[in-house]
Each structure stands twice: as structure tokens, then as C-alpha cells.
Symmetry: C2
Subunit: 299 residues, 2 copies
């Protein structure tokens, strides 16, 4: 397997001003893998409860996602509920039931221990590091994080940052971690904490990538009908890492191009609840919209 | 003269969380012309009071700006006061004294009545139209507007939109005019009102240009030290129109490239109060930062 993702499989209850879904397939590793598997062979490490539908696991496998690392534990699958305001930017978490994820202890199957590309989806940074250390000298590893860990596990997060090649953050997280309001300066400060690259997501305003040898900024794909933003960041990471894994390198030129794939994967994701839209896409859909995005951003 | 701007010359009192300036040179046409004159011959039509300093008018002339259309009227110059919150996105207008601008009746000097490129800076849309109709068949005309006119002079604004080639708006104004939350759909609706192009500014998040033959999106230049955002939009318009006027055309390719010049002019503007930074720049500074921006946005 060329690409490994460690993270959550979940059932989400999402409410928007237009519609709602109860117990729909979600989770960071699911969104990531559904996107990345369009581009590269992907293995998934995570945990689900006995309630996780066989059909959902089969659905992931039918996409070519290696689910050998998905542990089935006694108990219930991770569940999350959220509600979005009309502007999409304000999200209220209505509940978080960690369930079997509370004692998640990632075990990377032997076949994935040599994966050259690794993505550590949002989890406690100690768990992320434990997963990463099971992979032997990956070419390129990237971690995601969230406000909660910056608040309650800052030391562990700082330790993780010394081990990964890249960190994915949104604007709010970058400001919280560094105390710096200006996003460029915040990104520069994060680079000083260890990773070679910072991938800073700004939602509908796009994203930028910063490292010693690259500074690249990309607007979001202009989606006219947003249905549910849940999973956009993980889909972005999936498209991004999927392109790196497919290319087999992480040169500045490949990193720039990977941003296009991440942006496009996220744009499909937000067009439906759960994986309703993204899950119906093929690699040609991805390429077509990448070309469309290129025409929009090329001077 | 290849480029004509009609708008305000003003004295601004600006307060930020870091510093303040009282009665500093400002006004939409001033910011525009200081930017555009780095690229193309610019003529300015506006009105000032007897209190307007000779040195300020001489300063504009020394940049090659044709001030023959600047009327000196009895009374005081337009004065505006504003205060910014720490995030820069929230601006409070502390006062607006229209003074001589209240009875502004634009008179375009004969030499400028054949200007191929025309910018109508923010003013009552009837005044803007009155100015525009004095120019004989311009190649490309663009108007700016603001919330106030959308609220109290919507009919006049809609009439103006039928006469201009392009309209400059920020995200909030586009939403207010169309009632459409999604910016892409809002821009599409504005296109249906008459202009061939909508130039939609999103402040620190960049800008996009939309028309039947072009859809181009550009992030903002990454400024690390914002001092005062006043005039950024007008400087953007100045860089944009200055490049069009220098190129002598408004083809889709030129329009895209003009967005870079607008973005860079705005980036210098916000690095200082009034024209303290932008006013000290030359065309080489502009070109250098345009190349820098190109390297940041090129895939």
C-alpha cells in the first residue's frame, strides 16, 4: 500500500438549515480514504464497534480501500453530531460519543508498515505519534489536529510536530497554537516548531501551503450549492495525499499540484451529506474539476 | 490621458489598535490615482475645499496625475473618520463630513472626455453616471459602489449598471444587492443586471473576476504587517485599471493579469496609513511584487 491513513470511522448526525441526516457514515479516515482511493491505493487503520454495518465496511473495500487495519471492538462506533448556521462558517457540536474510539490503540498491519505516505487524521497527538512510529521511515507524513488538542495536549502536539513532515490546520487552529493573528506569521511560527510544511485551510477562502522551499496559495473551488461542509478538511487531505502517493514524491511542484486535488475533493465532499456526493465520483470527475480549477486560477 | 478617475479627495482620521492619524490625505480617487499613475497616465476629476493643502495637490501633480479636473470650491474638503478592530475586518465609521462633496457636480475637462479607460469611484450612482456620460464611448468603464447606495439609491444604481463594463463590489455589497448568500451566485446575478464583468473583492481573502468569457480567482498578497486597510479597495481598482490602460485593451488575458496589479497595489496600500507606503513605491516595486505574487499562485 502506498498510502496509509489512521483515524476515525464514525456515524454522524448532521443538521443544516435545509436538511438533516441521522447516523450517516462519516469519520476523518473515511472521508480521507474515499477521496484518496480515487488516486492511490489506500490502507485504513481505525476502530469501529459491533454496530458498524457490514455494508459500510464492504462499501469501503469495494473502493479498493484496504480495511485490514480496521479493528472491530466491543461497544459502539464513534458518533458525532453537529449543526451548521446558514453561513456554513459557524458549526455547533451537538454531541461527541467517543465510544470504542476512547481506547483506540492503533495497530498498523505489517503490510502497511512500509507505507511511504502517511496521514494521521485528527486524534490525540499521542495516539497519532504511536501510529506514526509503527511505520518505517515514511517518505512523507502529515498530521491533522484540532483546537481541543491545542488546549489540553499542547506538549504532546509539539512533540508530534517534530516527527511529521507536514501539519494541516485551519486558520483558527493556527492562531490558537501560535497566538499570532496574522496567518502568514502564524504559519511561519508553526514551521519553527518542527514540520517542513504547513497546510493552512481557510474553508471557502481556499488554502495555502508554506515551507522553506514553497509558498503556494489557492482559492477554493467555487461551489454554488453547499449541502454539508462536514468532512471537507479530511477530503482535502485525502485528495492532497492521494496525489502525492500517486506521484511517488513530495517535491515542491508535486505539493503545489496536490493542493488542486485536495481542493477539488473537498468541493465534491461539501456538495452532499456524508459521502453521498464524493463517494459517487470517479478519478475522471476529479481530473475534470482539477482542470476547471486550473483554468480559474491560471493568470 | 488614457485613464480617468472621478471620485473623492479627502482628509481621513483613522484609528487602529496600534496607531492613529488625524486629517491624513485620503479619498477614493486619491488612492486610485496614486496606484494607477505608477502604470498609466491618469487624470483626476473631483472637488476639494479651500482648506486642501497646496502641497497635497502638488504632490499628486508631481506623480504625473492630471489635476485639471479638480475643482476648488468654497467650503471644507470631504472628511471621513474610521476605527478598525484588531481583526481588521470590522470597521466603524466615526464620522462622515461630506462638505464640498455634498454638491459635487463632476465636470470632465475636454482633454479627458476621450479617455478610453474610466473609473467611477464610490459616489451616488447618479453622480457617477453624470460623470460617465461626459466621456465619449470609453473602451472600458468600471464603477465602485457601497452599501449606502444599494440601500437608498437602488434604482439609480441599477441604471448605472446598464452603462458600465464592470462593477467593483465587496462580498457584503454583492450579498446586499442580490440577496444571495453564495458569492458565485451573487456575482452571476449582478452580471444579469447589465455589466459584462463583476470584480468581487474579499479583502484578505483575495478577489475574483467573473464575466461571460472569464472566471478568475486570485488570493490576496500575503502581507504580514497590516497598518491600515483604508484605501485598499481603491488602490486595487487603481492597479487593475492602470494595467488595462497601460495595455490598451480589456481582453480576458489582460483582465486576469490586471488582477495581479490590483492585488499588489492594495498590498502596498495597507502597509501604511494614508499613502505613506503606496505613495513611496515606483513601478519597479509593483513589478517585483507582481512577480512574487505570480510565484505564489502559479501551480
Amino acid at each position: 500500500m502506498s498510502l496509509l491513513v489512521i483515524g476515525t470511522l464514525a456515524y454522524d448526525s448532521v443538521e443544516t438549515v435545509h436538511d438533516r441526516r441521522e447516523g450517516a457514515l462519516g469519520g476523518s479516515a473515511v472521508y480521507f480514504a474515499v477521496a484518496s482511493s480515487l488516486l492511490a491505493e489506500t490502507a485504513l487503520v481505525g476502530v469501529v464497534g459491533r454496530d458498524f454495518a457490514d455494508g459500510d465496511l464492504d462499501g469501503l473495500r469495494s473502493r479498493g480501500i484496504d480495511c485490514a487495519g480496521v479493528e472491530i471492538a466491543d461497544g459502539l462506533t464513534f458518533r458525532w453530531g453537529g449543526r451548521y448556521e446558514a453561513d456554513w462558517n459557524t458549526r455547533h457540536t451537538t454531541f461527541t460519543d467517543l465510544n470504542v474510539f476512547e481506547t483506540f490503540d492503533p495497530k498498523v498491519p505489517e503490510a502497511s508498515q512500509s507505507a511511504p505516505f502517511v496521514f494521521l487524521a485528527n486524534a490525540h497527538p499521542s495516539i497519532q505519534l504511536k501510529g506514526l512510529l509503527q511505520v518505517e521511515g515514511p517518505t512523507f507524513s502529515v498530521a491533522d489536529t484540532m483546537n481541543l488538542w491545542i488546549d489540553i495536549a499542547r506538549d504532546e502536539l509539539c512533540e508530534l510536530l517534530k516527527h511529521v513532515d507536514g501539519i494541516v490546520m485551519n486558520d483558527e487552529e493556527a492562531r490558537l497554537l501560535t497566538g499570532e493573528e496574522n496567518l502568514i506569521r502564524a504559519a511561519q511560527q508553526v514551521l519553527g516548531m518542527g514540520p517542513r510544511y504547513v497546510l493552512l485551510k481557510k474553508g471557502e477562502h481556499g488554502a495555502f501551503l508554506m515551507g522553506a522551499d514553497v509558498h503556494f496559495s489557492l482559492p477554493a473551488y467555487p461551489v454554488t450549492d453547499v449541502v454539508d461542509p462536514t468532512g471537507a478538511g479530511d477530503s482535502f487531505a485525502g485528495g492532497f495525499m492521494g496525489h502525492l502517493a500517486a506521484s511517488g514524491d513530495a517535491s515542491p511542484a508535486t505539493l503545489r499540484r496536490a493542493m488542486l486535488y485536495g481542493t477539488v475533493a473537498a468541493s465534491y465532499c461539501v456538495q452532499g451529506f456524508s459521502i453521498e456526493d464524493l463517494g459517487g465520483r470517479n478519478s475522471q470527475d476529479l481530473e475534470e474539476r482539477v482542470n476547471d480549477l486550473l483554468s480559474i486560477v491560471t493568470v
